[in-house]
Subunit: 194 residues, 2 copies
Amino acid sequence: MPRAGLGPASVTEAAAALVDEIGFDNLSMGLLAERLGVKTPSLYKHVASQAELAHRIAVLAMTELADAIRDATQGRAGSDALAAGAHAMRRYVLEHPGRYAAGNAARPTGPDDPLVPAVGRVLASWTAMLHGYRLNPDQEIHALRMLRSILHGFATLEAIGSFQINADIDDSFTWMIGFIDQGLKAKLPNLAHA
Amino acid sequence: MPRAGLGPASVTEAAAALVDEIGFDNLSMGLLAERLGVKTPSLYKHVASQAELAHRIAVLAMTELADAIRDATQGRAGSDALAAGAHAMRRYVLEHPGRYAAGNAARPTGPDDPLVPAVGRVLASWTAMLHGYRLNPDQEIHALRMLRSILHGFATLEAIGSFQINADIDDSFTWMIGFIDQGLKAKLPNLAHA
DNA sequence: CACTCAAGGCTAATGACGCTAGCTTTTAGC
DNA sequence: GCTAAAAGCTAGCGTCATTAGCCTTGAGTG
C-alpha cells in the first residue's frame, strides 16, 4: 500500500473541490476518501473531524474570496471598484458554490481562529472601496451591511437557482450594481447636508 | 398506549417549531418524536421521510411569509408599503429562522408542488408593491431581484449572526430600506427619460 | 353491544456514516 | 541497516434514517 502523499492542505483542497461539485451539504468522508484513493479512516490522520474539515474549507473560501476581491479592485476606485469587486465576488460564488456555502456555515471558534482575519480581509476590501464614495461616517457601516446583504443575497439566490428566467441574470446584476452606485453617489456628504 | 392524535399537519407544525429552536440543520426524527411523545418510527405513519418533512416545513414557511407580507402591506403603497413589507419579512425570519432556512433549502419537486404557488405569492406581493413606484417595465424584474437579494441577504446574515455589533442593526435595516426607496423613486419613468 | 379492520403505535433490524482502536507498512533521519 | 513516527488498513461502535412486521386502539357498522 503506497502512500498517497496527503496532508491537511491537500485534503482540504480536495474536499473544497468536491463540495463545489456535489454541494456542501452532501460532503461525506467516504466520498472524499474515495476521491483521494484512500479508505475513510485514513483521512483522520490529516483532519480531526468532518467539522474541522468543513471549517478548513470555510477558511480557504474566505481567503480566496478576499484575494479575488482585492485583485479585482486593485487600481480602481469609486464606481469602477464597486463593479469590479461585485462581479469578482459573484464569479467566485458561482464557480465555488460549495466553498462559499462552507464559508457561510462556519462560525469562528475563538479569537485566534484564522477564519476571523479571513473574513476581516473581505470586509476590509469592501470598506476601502466604500471610502471612495466619501460617505458620511455614520452611514458607512450601514452601506457596508447593505452591500454585504445585496451581494450575499444575490449570489446565494443565484447559486441555488432561485431566479426563474436564466436569461438576463447578468443584466439584473449589472443593473443592481448601477443602482447601488447611483444611490451611494447621491449620498455624498456635501449633498447630504443640503 | 394511547393515541397521540397526530397528523401530517401537526407533525409539520411541531417540526417547524423545533427547527426554529435548534436550527434547520439539526433537525432529527428522533428529536421530533421525543418532542411529540412518540417513538421515532411512528412518525413515518404521518410523513414519508425526513426529506418530505423538510419540504412540508418549507411550504409552511413560504405560506406564512407570504401572509405576513400581504398583511403588512395591506392598505399601504409606495414607500410605506416597502418599509412595512420589508420589516415584516425581517421579523418573520428572525422569529422563524429554522422555517425560513427550510424554505430556502427546498427545491420544487414538480409543476404541482405546493411550494411553487407559495413562493409565487411572496413574489407577487413584492411585484405589486414595486408597481407603486411606476418603474420602467424593463426594470421591474431587476428591481424585484434586487429587493429579494437585499432582504434575503440581510435576513440570513443577521440570522446567523454575521453582523458584528448588534447595537444598531435596526438602524442599518431602516437606512437600507430608505436607500432603496430613494433609488426607486429616482427611477420614475418621467425622470428616467430625462 | 359486539365486531371488524384500518389507522397508528411499538419493537427489532438494516444500512449508511462519522469516528476510534489497534495493527502494519512505509519512509525519513541517523 | 535501524528506529520510530507517520500514514495506511481492517474491525468495530454509536447514531440516525428507514423498513418490516406485530399489536392495540377506536370509529363505524350490524
